[in-house]
Amino acid sequence: MKNRLKVLRAERDWSQAELAGRLDVSRQAVNAIETGKHDPSLPLAFRIARLFEMGIEEIFDDEA
């Protein structure tokens, strides 16, 4: 699944570690999500959406 996590992170000048800390996941998890190697669970997708104050479908795209 494609996502805009890397772009959204960059807009806020956050490192992967910083984003991982805000989401309470490992940096490896953030890296895996950004590169599309791991699809986050629904609870984590909601946490990401809330953190960026956006809708889930604005961040993740299952049709790309």
Partner: protein
């Protein structure tokens, strides 16, 4: 607004660096452990008489412990490997320390009893063990492991849990494949008697490799 091109210079997560760090620390801790075992076994035997090989154990083991211990102390604080300092992350790091501690605490009575019997195979010998070292090792393992497993499960993030589940699945399938073949082969007198420790180690190693591969892929 920052565009993706502007942050390409940020140090991205490097699996190579991560695993080199992890392997380096594992090797260093193993060297400390081996040195410590050499010194411990040598000193114990010397106190009970001992011979030239025990003096050699102490002479070789002491500088190994001193040098590797010094590097452990110098490099110690950074176990984070780029991971954020969160309460959950710190709990996971302490879990790793606890796993190593339980491993050493379980192995120590076994190694001591094997060295007393002058067993040629240390730790994974199938020779008889005296009652109290065996009960000590069993108790430490039996009481600590369920807590450590539960603690690890509760404090892993979903990516780590998914990798762990994959590793366990691969490990169990290897066990499910190999164990009946060995058992049937033994009954047909083609193979030696199944050895539970060999199965434990082989499935454990394969499971760990599968977990690490899944985490980094």
């Amino acid at each position: 607004m920052t565009t993706p091109d502007q942050f390409e210079e940020e140090a991205e997560f490097s699996h190579t660096r991560y695993w080199l760090h992890l392997i380096g620390w594992s090797v260093l801790l193993t060297v400390v452990l081996i040195g410590g075992i050499l010194v411990g076994v040598g000193l114990k035997n010397l106190l009970n008489g001992g011979d030239t090989s025990d003096i050699l154990f102490v002479v070789i083991g002491t500088p190994i412990v001193a040098v590797s211990g010094y590097f452990c102390w110098r490099w110690f604080p950074d176990f984070t490997m780029g991971e954020p300092h969160t309460a959950r992350g710190n709990r996971i790091r302490w879990l790793l320390v606890a796993v190593v501690g339980v491993g050493i605490a379980t192995a120590f009575p076994i190694i001591l009893s094997d060295s007393e019997q002058r067993a040629t195979e240390i730790l994974f010998s199938n020779g008889p063990m005296p009652f109290w070292p065996a009960i000590t090792a069993i108790s430490i393992w039996a009481i600590a492991m369920p807590f450590l497993i539960l603690f690890g499960r509760r404090n892993s993030d979903e990516h780590g849990r998914a990798a762990g589940d994959f590793g366990m699945m691969v490990g169990f399938q290897v066990f499910g494949y190999a164990a009946p073949i060995w058992w049937m082969g033994w009954r047909a007198e083609v193979f030696p008697q199944p050895d539970v420790m060999i199965l434990f180690i082989v499935t454990g190693v394969i499971s760990s490799i599968a977990t690490l591969w899944k985490r980094s892929s």
